[in-house]
Symmetry: C2
Subunit: 84 residues, 2 copies
């Protein structure tokens, strides 16, 4: 399945921490605050668990979408940044 | 179907313009740079057309995901901001 992770985090260190977690799980950065990638069901659960185990500030907002199919239907309006 | 719109836009006026477009189409802000909502197929196409008709800076990145089902599977790790 495909995970899409988007986040609003106030602190640089929290953003870095979350970005590194996403990279550890093989997700690719598609925007400044968005990561996307395919993971197994077990890895997905580990990812969610690790997110839940970490503390983030009260203004933080992290949303994880499970795109089980057809995520390729995303439409990119403007050329993505390099690496996306 | 459900549209998820996420964006990286450099200019305030572009962000405001895109946010207003999303609101016009009935999408709800779920993060600072993310909108979500249900639209008909025809409205979805209008939305895409309007996005394509507008010019955004070359560093801009707007991605539209079509979540045809089960978008409720999103997992919110930290309490959403008010209105989300």
């Amino acid at each position: 399945m495909t995970l899409l992770v988007i986040y609003d985090l106030a602190l640089d260190k929290e953003r870095d921490r979350l970005a590194n977690l996403c990279l550890d799980f093989g997700l690719a950065r598609i925007q400044y605050s968005a990561f996307l990638g395919d993971v197994s069901t077990r890895l997905k659960q580990r990812f969610i668990n690790e997110l839940n185990d970490r503390s983030f500030g009260t203004d933080s907002n992290i949303q994880v979408f499970l795109l089980e199919q057809d995520w390729q239907k995303r439409r990119i309006i403007v050329a993505p940044k390099s690496g996306a």
